[in-house]
């Protein structure tokens, strides 16, 4: 059945419903609209189309706005009803072709059905994102791995003690100490895990807008309106602003120009040669990823240190939004604006990265306006063996960082310390 056919049926039915609601005779309404009662009867039973002018006359006769008899809003609602029907289990088969009738005769029930279907859809999306988080969240994966390691140790060690047989006193003492240490580690890790899972419930949304945008970027930044990852209005607004900025920056530094310049491999020399700001060159390298920068990542923070863009290089230890390692050179750059800081950093996994950080200051509202600071860090995986030793030992965030002797630690780690 075509859309046009549906709207014709709907209009006729709505005219009839409206007339009956007013307790008016068919002949009276027909006369007021300038048509015969027989013709109105055909219209009301959806056997004749209703033209635009006739809709206006009937609307006037029925003391209702023409838009209420018009087709647009209802068609959307009918489409929503059909969509709700499609999503039902196979063994439930509502009369899809009677959706227009349902909407016209029981608009309240139809609205309730549409709202329920949309709610179910939203919950389904939340379930998918929650499932993704459970299987990909680095914090959860690390913590669960820690729990399993401690449990493995406890189980093996306790079994040794329970199995009997001769155990030298020094080994027995060592196993007791290990059990004590592992049980402590297990309890603190389990508490941290529960607190973390509790925090899920406290959140209004499963993902923050920033996380939605990150997921969208990771999916290749598909068109905003069609992007499944952008569930909230805030996320879509962020995504549009991001696209606009990317477009402006691409216009300022076109792909072809950057691709040639990138053969140099040194962003500072590239910026000098191109006569472009270094921060622009860094951002464009992270987006275009020319040869030599294929695995480039980029972190951006504002003057408060809050991360506003997180596109890490593969293997770079990135915690959840709102958390970070204070030793990242990105934050050092905030203290020395307009001075590039190049550092080789090593993650707890042993992987090394070359980083280039730069902070810039702006006064977008003029000399009387506030000074805004932004820092960014370009991240590139280091060639194995390229640097003898790293400049900095960094981590993801204190809670999931195993570096026990870190001078920047602000809270205990839930991990066994290295």
């Amino acid at each position: 059945m075509t859309q046009r056919g549906n709207s014709r049926i709907l209009t006729g039915t709505r005219i009839r419903e409206r007339r009956l609601a007013l307790s008016r005779r068919q002949a009276d309404v027909a006369r007021a609209a300038g048509i015969s009662a027989a013709y109105l009867n055909l219209i009301e039973h959806n056997r004749r189309p209703v033209g635009e002018h006739l809709v206006l006359r009937l609307a006037a006769a029925l003391d209702v706005s023409a838009t209420e008899l018009a087709e647009g809003r209802e068609e959307a609602q009918i489409a929503a009803l059909r969509e709700a029907a499609v999503r039902l289990p196979d063994n439930v088969a509502p009369e899809v072709d009677q959706a227009p009738e349902l909407l016209a005769r029981f608009p309240g029930w139809a609205a309730a059905l549409i709202a329920t279907a949309r709610r179910a859809d939203a919950l389904e999306r939340q379930l998918v994102t929650l499932s993704d988080r459970m299987t990909q969240d680095p914090y959860l994966l690390t913590t669960l791995h820690e729990v399993l390691s401690a449990v493995t140790s406890v189980r093996s060690t306790a079994s040794i003690l329970a199995e009997g047989g001769e155990i030298p006193p020094d080994w027995r003492a060592r196993f007791h100490a290990n059990l004590d240490a592992d049980s402590l580690r297990l309890s603190s890790t389990a508490q941290a895990l529960v607190a973390y899972l509790d925090s899920f419930e406290a959140q209004d949304a499963i993902f923050t807008p920033q996380e939605e945008v990150e997921a969208w970027l990771a999916a290749g930044a598909p068109p905003v309106e069609a992007a499944d990852d952008l569930a909230s209005d805030a996320a879509r607004a962020l995504a549009r602003a991001h696209l606009l900025r990317m477009e402006e920056e691409r216009a300022a530094l076109p792909d072809a120009v950057l691709a040639v310049a990138a053969e140099d491999h040194d962003p500072l020399r590239m910026a000098a040669r191109l006569r472009q700001p270094l921060d622009l060159v860094m951002r464009r390298l992270a987006v275009l990823k020319p040869p030599g920068f294929e695995a480039a990542g980029l972190l951006v923070c504002d003057g408060s240190g809050a991360l506003t863009l997180r596109r890490p290089a593969p293997g770079f230890p990135l915690p959840r939004p709102g958390d970070a390692c204070p030793l990242w050179p990105l934050f050092q750059a905030l203290a020395t604006p307009h001075t590039a800081i190049a550092k080789v950093v090593e993650a707890p996994s042993g992987r090394r990265f070359r980083t280039l950080s730069l902070a810039t200051r702006h006064q977008p509202l003029g000399t009387d306006g506030p000074v805004l600071t932004r820092a960014q860090m370009l991240i590139l995986p280091d060639d194995p063996g390229a640097s003898a030793r790293p400049d900095l030992l960094i981590g993801p965030a204190c809670r999931i960082c195993p570096r026990a002797d870190c001078a920047a630690r602000r809270e205990p780690s839930i991990l066994a310390t290295a």
Binding site: S149, T152, S156, F175, N178, G350, A416, A418
Partner: protein, 118 residues
């Protein structure tokens, strides 16, 4: 020749496993880092390698791939028992001879090692 070389970065697990297997009469060596793991295998030439998947610097699967590609054919064929915290179904190491999911029972460990060393 060493019977077993275990590459495991969790010291308490490594200690417990070494005790369990040593008490069975096998000689067990330990290496605690992914870095240098393949060199430790080449140096010890053990009859069996027990290899954790998640290791610092270099994962167990990377070490296993390197071992299987070693130019010394007999070394490359060394039996490998992988220890994983993620279950056998998700283990990305088809080249392993056996997989043991953490946590495991000591009897399970002993039986598996016995089978692999026969």
């Amino acid at each position: 020749m060493l019977d077993i070389l275990m590459i495991e970065d969790e010291p308490n697990i490594a200690e417990a496993v070494r005790f369990i297997l040593t008490r069975e009469g096998w000689e067990v060596g330990l290496h605690a880092d992914g870095l240098g793991g393949i060199e430790a295998i080449r140096g010890a030439k053990p009859r069996l390698v027990i290899l954790d998947v998640m290791l610092p610097h270099r994962s167990g699967t990377e070490i296993l791939a390197e071992l299987r590609g070693d130019h010394d054919a007999s070394l490359a064929a060394t039996p490998v028992l992988m220890l994983t915290a993620r279950g056998q179904a998700t283990l990305p190491a088809p080249q392993a001879d056996a997989v043991l999911a953490k946590p495991f029972a000591n009897d399970e460990l002993r039986a598996m090692v016995r089978r692999m060393l026969v």
